[in-house]
C-alpha cells in the first residue's frame, strides 16, 4: 500500500514537474543577442501568383520583410583591400514553390560599368569555407556555388569554386539576374529554380536552412584604376537562408494524440487514487 502510494506520487510529480520544468527551464534562456540592427538569416516567403523575378523595383517587394547584413573589406588574403564602398546590404526573398527570387539592395553612390554583386552558397553535405570554399586543414570541405552579376554583362553567371583561383563558369547556366541603380542604391534580383538538375548547384528545399554569403564590388574608377575588383571587394560571413515551408497540418493530429494521452493518464491516476481511498 505504501509502495503503491510512493509509486503513484513519483509518477505524478515526475510527470508534472518534468513537463513544466522542461518547458520553463529550457525555454527561458534567451537566444544570444544579435548585433543591434543586424540579422542572421534571410527568409524567402512563399507567394501565390507571379514572382517579381526580373523587376527589382516591383511593388511586390515593398511588403517583404528584409534582413540586413554588415559587410567587411576583404582583408584576410592577398590581394587585400582596407576600405570598401558597400558597408551593408539589405536582402529580401520570395519563392512560389518552383522558383525563387532574392533581392539585394545596397548603397553605392555612383553607377559604374564594373559594379558587380555576388551571392554564394555551400553545395552538398560538406561545409565550405566562405572564401570560395578555401581548403581547410582539419576538415574536408565542399565546393561553393556563386551567382555572379556584373553590370557590364547585364546578367548573372552561374559559377563554382573550391579554393582560391578555382572559380569557373558552369556549363549549365541556371541563374538570371536583373539590376537597377537609382539615386545612390543598387537593387539586383537574382532568380533561379529552387532545385536544378545540376549537382554543382545549391539545391533549395523548402523548410531546410542553407548557408549564404554576399560580396559586392564598387567599380568606380579612381586615379585611372578600378577601385574594387577580383579579391578586392566587400564580403560577408556565412549567414542562413531558407525557403519558408508551407504549413504542415499533420502535426495537429499528434497534438490531439498528446492531449488524449495526458487526459487518459489523469483518468487512470485519479481512478487508482479513488480505489485506494475506498479500499
Amino acid at each position: 500500500m505504501l509502495n503503491r502510494l510512493r509509486f503513484l506520487s513519483t509518477i505524478t510529480f515526475v510527470g508534472i514537474f518534468g513537463i513544466l520544468g522542461y518547458s520553463i527551464g529550457f525555454a527561458s534562456d534567451p537566444p544570444p543577442a544579435d548585433e543591434v540592427g543586424a540579422s542572421v538569416s534571410v527568409r524567402m516567403y512563399q507567394v501565390e501568383g507571379t514572382l517579381p523575378v526580373d523587376d527589382p523595383n516591383s511593388t511586390q517587394w515593398a511588403s517583404v520583410p528584409e534582413s540586413e547584413f554588415n559587410l567587411a573589406p576583404q582583408v584576410h588574403w592577398p590581394e587585400r583591400i582596407q576600405e570598401v564602398t558597400v558597408k551593408s546590404v539589405k536582402v529580401k526573398g520570395l519563392h512560389d514553390g518552383q522558383n525563387l527570387a532574392i533581392l539585394v539592395e545596397y548603397e553605392d553612390p555612383t553607377e559604374d560599368a564594373k559594379d558587380a554583386a555576388a551571392v554564394e552558397f555551400m553545395v552538398g553535405d560538406k561545409k565550405a569555407h566562405f572564401a570560395h570554399g578555401q581548403p581547410m586543414l582539419q576538415v574536408e570541405g565542399g565546393p561553393v556555388n556563386i551567382w555572379f552579376w556584373k553590370k557590364e554583362n547585364g546578367k548573372a553567371l552561374d559559377m563554382s569554386a573550391k579554393g582560391f583561383k578555382t572559380l569557373t563558369t558552369q556549363e549549365k547556366q541556371d541563374v538570371k539576374a536583373t539590376g537597377a541603380w537609382e539615386g545612390g542604391s543598387w537593387k539586383i534580383v537574382f532568380t533561379r529554380a529552387l532545385k536544378t538538375e545540376d549537382e554543382k548547384d545549391v539545391q533549395i528545399e523548402p523548410g531546410e536552412w542553407r548557408s549564404v554569403a554576399f560580396a559586392f564590388w564598387d567599380g568606380a574608377v579612381v586615379d585611372g584604376l578600378v577601385k574594387e575588383k577580383g579579391s578586392q571587394k566587400a564580403v560577408s560571413s556565412w549567414w542562413s537562408i531558407r525557403a519558408e515551408p508551407s504549413a504542415d497540418n499533420s502535426i495537429f493530429a499528434w497534438v490531439i494524440l498528446g492531449l488524449a494521452l495526458a487526459a487518459g493518464f489523469e483518468f487512470v491516476v485519479i481512478r487508482k487514487l479513488r480505489k485506494g481511498q475506498s479500499a
Binding site: L2, L5, R6, L8, S9, T10, T12, F17, I19, G21, Y22, I24, G25, F26, S28, D29, P31, E35, V40, N70, A72, P73, V75, H76, Q82, K127, A128, H129, F130, Q134, P135, M136, L137, Q138, V139, G141, G207, W209, A234, S236, S237, W238, W239, S240, R242, P245, I251, W254, I256, L257, G258, L259, A262, A263, E266, V269, I270, L273, R274, Q277
Partner: protein
C-alpha cells in the same frame, strides 16, 4: 495548506530565488537548464525525505491525492481541481506542438571557442626575449597585419570587424588571450581559421592563415606585442608538485 507541502514549496521557491538572483552576485548568471537541474534535485530531496515514513508520506502526498481525486471538495477546491485537470492536457498539447512545429530559427551554432590544438603546437615556448625592442616590433607588426580586424586598441573593434561572424577576438577581454598559452596563440595565428578542427567551425572563420605570409619570428613577436598592448598575461604552466 500547512505542513510538509508548504515547507517543500517554500524550500523550492527559496532555492529558485537563491539560484536566480543571489548566487549570480557571487558568480555569473546560471543558465536556466542548470537552475532547473538544481530545482529537480531539491524536489527529489523533498520527496525522499518526506516519504521515508508512512506518516510522512501521508502528510506530504495525502493532501495532493485528495486534491486530485476530488474527495470532499467544494467551491474553490473544486474549481482549482478542474483547472489543473484541464490545464495539464493543454500543456502537454502545447509542448507537443512546439516540439513538432518547424523550427523558426536557423540552426543553433555551438561553436567551440577554444578547441584543442594539434599536438605539435602544445608546450611551445616563445623563443624571443620579452624585451622592449621585441615588444615594440610586435606591436608594429600587429598594427600592420592584425589591427584592421582586431582593432588598434586590441579590442576586436577594427574597421573591418563589423562584417564578420564570428567577430574578431577582443584581446582586452579576460576570456580570450588571458586564458591561453602563447603556444596556443602561435597555432591560431599560424594556421588561421582554416586550421581549426571541426568543432571550431573553420568554414566560418575570417582569421587568415598567416604562415603563408609571415615567418614564425614575426608571429612570436606579434604575440608578445599583443599581450603587452592588451594589458594581459598568458596563462602559465602549472607548477609541478
Amino acid at each position: 495548506m500547512r505542513g510538509p507541502i508548504a515547507s517543500g514549496a517554500i524550500l523550492l521557491a527559496g532555492m529558485f530565488i537563491f539560484l536566480k538572483f543571489i548566487l549570480p552576485l557571487m558568480t555569473a548568471p546560471l543558465p536556466a537548464s542548470l537552475i532547473y537541474l538544481y530545482l529537480a534535485l531539491t524536489l527529489s530531496g523533498i520527496m525522499i525525505f518526506g516519504t521515508m515514513s508512512a506518516s510522512g508520506l501521508e502528510s506530504l502526498m495525502g493532501p495532493i491525492f485528495r486534491f486530485l481525486s476530488g474527495e470532499g471538495q467544494s467551491g474553490v477546491g473544486h474549481m482549482a481541481r478542474l483547472a489543473v485537470l484541464v490545464l495539464f492536457p493543454l500543456l502537454v498539447g502545447w509542448q507537443t506542438y512546439t516540439r513538432l512545429a518547424p523550427s523558426d530559427a536557423p540552426p543553433a551554432e555551438n561553436r567551440t571557442i577554444h578547441p584543442a590544438p594539434p599536438g605539435e603546437f602544445v608546450g611551445l615556448a616563445n623563443p624571443y626575449q620579452n624585451n622592449e625592442a621585441n615588444i615594440n616590433m610586435g606591436k608594429g607588426l600587429y598594427a600592420a597585419y592584425c589591427s584592421p580586424c582586431h582593432g588598434a586598441n586590441y579590442d576586436g573593434k577594427g574597421t573591418a570587424a563589423p562584417g564578420f561572424n564570428p567577430p574578431p577576438a577582443n584581446f582586452s577581454d579576460p576570456g580570450t588571450i588571458a586564458q591561453l598559452q602563447e603556444s596556443y596563440l602561435f597555432w591560431r595565428i599560424k594556421k588561421g581559421g582554416v586550421g581549426l578542427p571541426v568543432e571550431g567551425m573553420p568554414w566560418k572563420s575570417a582569421m587568415p592563415r598567416w604562415e603563408v605570409e609571415l615567418p614564425d619570428e614575426f608571429i612570436w613577436k606579434i604575440i608578445m606585442g599583443e599581450y603587452d598592448g592588451a594589458h594581459q598575461s598568458p596563462r602559465t604552466w602549472e607548477e609541478e608538485e
